[in-house]
């Protein structure tokens, strides 16, 4: 028998029992469809994440540190009231939104309910971890494929300009960063030798009184004074004060305690207390409740004058890359200076022991693993996008195999259905097979006919599934991209459903193989029919 005739006869037989065929086709299509969609969406998602990460220099960076445990602390952030989110000044709507988000961040950081135990833990981690020195950084830079090492300096400081004063953080900038360069709103980017230049974020500028878009340009070229403060000292003082109040109090309650104390000092003159009583209270409370600015300079403070070169856009409307960037401690807020200036400021601190961490930039993504291995041999703990990517891929793969298992289960159940249907069909067509054998059909001809019916079911079911999957992908791609952007702040430009020929072929072969396997028993039964007995069933 020719293959064409076998397929034709099988197709005609399936058409003759079209209701049963349709039901089985639906089963095969659902199973194959789930399988196909799973493979396409995992492939699409992986490709999109790769494209997103590979597009930046950030994929080539490794964050190194020597801490023994993670620094993450779980804090509960309450929702800020609308009154705390009012943005003043004429500005671009997008910038208004960024400032509003920044106000919300600031309000939440002031009001988050971090417990004293958590803060103590952070202090312990910082104090126990072995710092990275300038010599260490030179050593890292000598590793093959390492292009640049940016010290992880995030210096707490006070910023003063024209009588205005704000707290902020000063970071060592990665001068080769395209991402940072893209955030420049006005002004110019820092150069390597610009040791007195500084880049300020737009929110700090807003807080310093440069609110409208027009006012931002006025800030360029102005000299600001910064006063670096040892974070460890500040925290230690805070803890000591808090422990005096109560060992169980949380920072939110402690902040309220401080505010109440400050209010009491401010309103002291309006009370009916006599002068000696007022003096006593001032002496007792002022050390504890007045802000450092109210008290004058911090004893460990280091001062420096810097010139504003440019204003940086906030990263609050950033995509996933910038979220990762934030997780690598570069942050979105604060001031940025060239690494040498940051190192200079930090090293002048009395308690400076070295950097907690540093960002290492490698020449190619392909060399990340090699450099990571070398850094780990040298005793550093490393975190890179490649490692994160591997973790994400592992998660995607786990999800994929779960869905693939479900799809295979559906196909298996369908296969059992197909097997039963074909068995019934063989019983119904006993006479037909008897006649075929009586006129000269070999056992293998009959086997081929029945197996072919299963294969046609598998093939048609997969084709149907492919059509439905393509339609779903066409309709669902934009919807999913929108969801990722709005729900997860994840902006992807590529297609989330990738139907590779390999995946299509794999699903088709898998489906056909399962359906043919289900047809094997009915086929064997049909082949073994005795033609004389079969023909007597008329």
């Amino acid at each position: 028998m020719r293959a064409r005739d076998i397929i034709g006869i099988a197709a005609r037989n399936l058409w003759h029992r079209r209701r049963r065929t349709a039901l089985n086709l639906i089963g095969v299509a659902i199973g194959s469809g789930v399988l196909l969609m799973t493979l396409s969406v995992t492939s699409g998602l992986r490709s999109a994440i790769h494209a997103m990460i590979d597009a930046t220099e950030f994929a080539r960076s490794i964050y190194v540190h020597r801490s023994e445990s993670p620094m993450q602390l779980d804090a509960i952030s309450p929702k800020p009231p609308e009154s705390a989110l009012v943005v003043e000044g004429e500005m671009d709507p997008a910038r208004r939104k960024r400032i509003r988000d920044a106000l919300a961040d600031v309000w939440q950081s002031e009001n988050q309910q971090k417990t004293m135990a958590q803060e103590r833990k952070r202090m312990e981690i910082v104090s126990k971890s072995k710092p990275i020195s300038a010599e260490d950084m030179l050593g890292i830079k000598r590793i093959e494929h390492v292009q640049e090492v940016v010290p992880g300096i995030h210096q707490s400081c006070r910023v003063m300009l024209d009588g205005a004063e704000r707290s902020s953080v000063l970071h060592a900038a990665n001068l080769s960063s395209g991402l940072l360069r893209q955030r420049l709103l006005v002004g110019q980017f820092l150069t390597e030798n610009d040791r007195d230049g500084v880049l300020m974020d737009e929110f700090l500028a807003y807080q310093m009184g440069f609110r409208s878009d027009a006012q931002l340009a006025e800030l360029l070229g102005k000299t600001i004074e910064i006063e670096a403060i040892s974070r460890a000292d500040t925290l230690r003082q805070l803890l000591e004060s808090a422990e005096l109040a109560s060992s169980a109090v949380d920072l939110g309650a402690f902040a309220e305690y401080v505010r109440t104390g400050q209010q009491l000092l401010a309103d002291l003159d309006r009370t009916t207390l006599d002068d000696s009583q007022k003096r006593l209270i001032r002496q007792t409370l002022s050390k504890r409740f007045l802000r450092s600015g109210d008290q004058g300079s911090h004893p460990n403070a280091v001062r420096r004058r810097l010139t504003v070169r440019g204003i940086l856009r906030l990263g609050t409307d950033a995509d996933l890359i910038q979220m990762f960037r934030y997780s690598f401690s570069e942050g979105s807020y604060g001031l940025r200076v060239v690494p040498s200036t940051a190192l200079d400021l930090a090293s002048q601190q009395a308690d400076f022991r070295g950097m907690f961490g540093a960002s290492v930039f490698v020449d190619s993504v392909r060399n990340i693993d090699r450099v990571t291995e070398k850094l780990e041999q040298d005793g550093y703990r490393c975190a890179s996008m490649v490692q994160m990517l591997k973790h994400v891929e592992k998660q995607i793969d786990q999800g994929k195999w779960l869905l693939v298992s479900v799809a295979m289960l559906i196909l298996l159940v369908t296969a059992i259905g197909i097997g039963i249907m074909l068995m019934i069909s063989v019983i119904e067509r006993t006479t037909e097979f008897g006649i075929l054998k009586a006129v000269g059909a070999k056992d293998q001809d009959v086997v081929c006919l029945v197996l072919c019916e299963g294969a046609v079911l598998g093939l048609l079911g997969t084709l149907l599934a492919a059509l439905v999957a393509l339609l779903c992908a066409w309709l669902g791609n934009d919807l999913l991209l929108h969801l990722l952007l709005t729900r997860f702040n994840m902006k992807l430009d590529s297609n989330l459903f990738l139907f590779s020929p390999t995946a299509m072929l794999t699903v088709t072969l898998c489906s056909v193989w399962i359906c043919m396997s289900a047809s094997a028993i009915p086929a064997w039964r049909a082949a073994r029919l005795d033609p004389i007995v079969a023909m007597r069933r008329v």
Partner: protein
């Protein structure tokens, strides 16, 4: 052409063994037409099934056109049925979902012929049996006589050297049976095949064949034109 020697076919195990064919020995030359007559259950159809390689003898030798049927494998038996014999049955044995033309085409499909060639040959064969205009009718749309003609066309489409007919007129009324017999006689002459024709009807048997056999209780004996007189009628 056909040679049997001490052919036995029995069913079941001893002591409940039932012998359908007992020590049948006969020979038939090429183009000879044999008619086997006998009562129901005498073993006629069993013998025909053995000659068609639909069944295997319990013992004895059976040779058809130099094929030792008692020694063939399942595949060789299938090839023999396809290329050497054509057979028609009392109950026509047409596939109900296939048209007359498609039923006639079946052996050609199994031979692996092209669709166009199959169509040409099957149409020509239907034309020979007078059913050219019924080619696209399904079996249930045809009369009994027409169905049997389709079955005859299917049996002859591969130009078999042996034609076996198992009571081909058994399900037909007298006039239709006569028509079918006339057609068979004409086709036997045209195709010059060896024929083994089984019937229980002596009147029909008397019209066909140049050798006559009587089958009784599984035993076969060659008889004269009157089928052994009273013995045949018994």
């Amino acid at each position: 052409m056909i040679s049997t020697s001490e052919l036995y076919r029995s069913y079941g195990e001893a002591p409940h063994e039932i012998a359908a064919i007992r020590a049948v020995s006969f020979e038939l030359e090429h183009r000879q037409q044999a008619v086997i007559i006998g009562k129901s259950g005498s073993g006629k159809s069993t013998l025909l099934n053995l000659l068609a390689a639909l069944d295997r003898p319990t013992r004895g030798a059976l040779t058809v056109d130099s094929n030792r049927l008692d020694q063939l494998s399942r595949n060789e038996m299938a090839r023999y049925r396809l290329r050497t014999v054509g057979m028609v049955f009392q109950s026509f044995q047409l596939i109900p979902q296939r048209t007359a033309l498609q039923n006639v085409e079946l052996p050609l499909i199994l031979e692996g012929q092209t669709a166009a060639e199959r169509r040409r040959q099957a149409s020509a064969m239907l034309d020979q049996v007078g059913l050219q205009d019924r080619a696209n009718h399904l079996p249930y749309q045809l009369s009994g006589g027409e169905q049997q003609r389709v079955a005859i066309a299917r049996a002859l489409i591969n130009k078999p050297r042996v034609f076996l007919a198992d009571e081909p007129t058994g399900n037909l009324d007298t006039s239709t049976a006569r028509e079918v017999l006339s057609l068979l006689e004409e086709l036997f002459d045209r195709h010059k095949t060896t024929v083994v024709f089984v019937t229980h009807d002596q009147q029909i048997a008397s019209r066909i064949g140049n050798r006559r056999f009587l089958m009784s209780d599984g035993c076969l004996q060659e008889v004269g034109a009157d089928f052994g007189g009273d013995h045949a009628r018994a």
